[in-house]
Amino acid sequence: MVSKAFSLYGKIAVVTGDNGFWNTTIATALADAEADIVFAAKDIDSIKQAREQVEHLGQKCIAIPTDTSQPHDVQKMVEQIIKETGKIDILVNASDTEFAKPIDEISEREWNTVIDYNLKSTFFCCQKVGQVMLKQKRGRIINLVSCLAERGMENGTAYCAAMGGILQLTRSLAIEWGKMGITVNAVSIGWFAGQPLTKSPNEGTLLKFIPTRRFGKPEEIGSTVVYLASDATDFYTGQVVYVDGGIMVRP
């Protein structure tokens, strides 16, 4: 049984980023809810699996090679989408670039990359895609962040800073565009199997720390993104949805 409250039939969703793990699960869920998908990725190979899933579900799919950290590139991407589809209903910023190192070993180049491909990319995608949504007087922006946006981690300085930045960007933009028909929310992810930050010698310790006593499954992110992208969330903005097995609950 399909609930009409969460259907994305006829909607165009842009999914950004080179993270094959997230762009696959998110695009698959959006396509399952009958949205058509536009991928914006620097490395077009990273969306190969995602594209196959979307097409398998019978939804339309466009891939636009884009360096999302470059405002000019993002602008060109937006223009191409408008030329091909005429609108953008949903933007999911999922460029998640994971990184961890002691602070005294982090180079300027590494810092810039972590900030550029997490925070700067999200900022300029919101800004440029937002111009289309403002004209439409309607839009959904969903920013993927980590629970590390609000909690510290040893070796997490650069990544946590970038994630915290995305979260505050989300809250501010939600207020700025509150009356414009655009909702801006974040999905905050806990520990998921197979992710770089989850793979460490202490994986077992990490697992025991999660109240639910298991890692998240990729599809558990997808269903939350669909909910936030749907027409059911008109009054829901400036918020964070934690998909974390309860990890933010514990001390």
Binding site: A5, K179, T237, G246
Partner: protein, 275 residues
């Protein structure tokens, strides 16, 4: 299929305070997605009315008059649900959620508030939630699944002038949610909390109300009050299998009101970077 997880077909849900307003709206939202509903509240008339409307859309419904501040009555509500409906999959603790009159300027000073007014508010908004969770958890742990949704309020997240007992009780509900979530996380029970902003339910009351809302609409960055569907759809998501890895979380559904807070509404300075 992601979407197919968002159905409640044949699940049994109890909604306290389900005779009027938000509770009634949530009961109907869940029933439309296929859930069978037990509606509980003090007065028999409104809950039987809700139950009738649910039967009309083809789902099973029971109305059980219950004072949720009385643990014997709460135990009877939960036990009767299990005996008559075959289990309890979803519990929505909404009783006492209509607290709009507590917002804004109270007619009295703090020192004039009598003991029983404080205690009644704590019992109605907090103790009732503990009683309902306590009995339902026993069954949910045994069956190894369950969804509990507690209705708090944005009043529990910030300080409000003269909002004492209501705000304190609602803040306590947020934390009670987290403790119950942590306790039963490994038993596949998800416990989450909704903090609605100001939802306009005046037209849903047995006698439609026309009084002004206690907060100006400017408080909400989206520029409007909530409608019952705003909360109904969220309850549906949290009651469904789509939210199986979400527990102990707070969902503030308030049109962005609580996301703001350090500057007044409309404050928008421009500061250039220095060269």
């Amino acid at each position: 299929m992601v979407i197919s997880k968002m159905t409640l077909k044949n699940k049994v849900a109890i909604i306290t305070g389900g005779g009027t307003g938000l509770g009634k709206a949530m009961a109907l939202s869940l029933a439309k997605e296929g859930a069978d509903i037990v509606v509980a509240a003090r007065r028999a008339g409104p809950i039987e009315q809700t139950a009738n409307e649910i039967r009309q859309i083809g789902r099973r419904a029971l109305s059980i008059p219950t004072d949720t501040t009385d643990s014997a009555q709460v135990n009877n509500l939960i036990d009767s649900t299990v005996n008559n409906m075959g289990g309890i999959d979803i519990l929505i603790n909404n009783a006492g959620a209509v607290g709009r009159q507590q917002v804004g300027n109270a007619p009295r000073q703090m020192w004039d508030i009598p003991d029983d007014e404080w205690l009644n508010a704590i019992n109605s908004h907090l103790t009732s939630v503990f009683y309902c969770c306590r009995r339902a958890a026993k069954y949910m742990v045994a069956q190894k699944h369950g969804k509990i949704i507690n209705i708090a309020s944005i009043n529990g997240l910030r300080g409000w002038r003269n909002g004492f007992a209501y705000g304190a009780a609602k803040a306590a509900v947020v934390n009670l949610t987290k403790s119950i979530a942590h306790t039963f996380a490994r038993d596949n029970i998800q416990v989450n909390c909704i903090a609605p902003g100001l939802i306009d339910v005046r037209h849903l009351q047995p006698v439609p109300e026309t009084q002004d809302m206690p907060l100006k609409v400017d408080f909400f960055p989206v520029g409007r009050y909530g409608i019952p569907e705003d909360i109904g759809n969220l309850a549906l998501f949290l009651a469904s299998d789509a939210s199986d890895y979400i527990t102990g979380s707070l969902f503030v559904n308030d049109g962005g009101g609580i996301a703001a807070g350090v500057t007044p509404n409309g404050y928008a300075p421009i500061v250039e970077l220095r060269e």
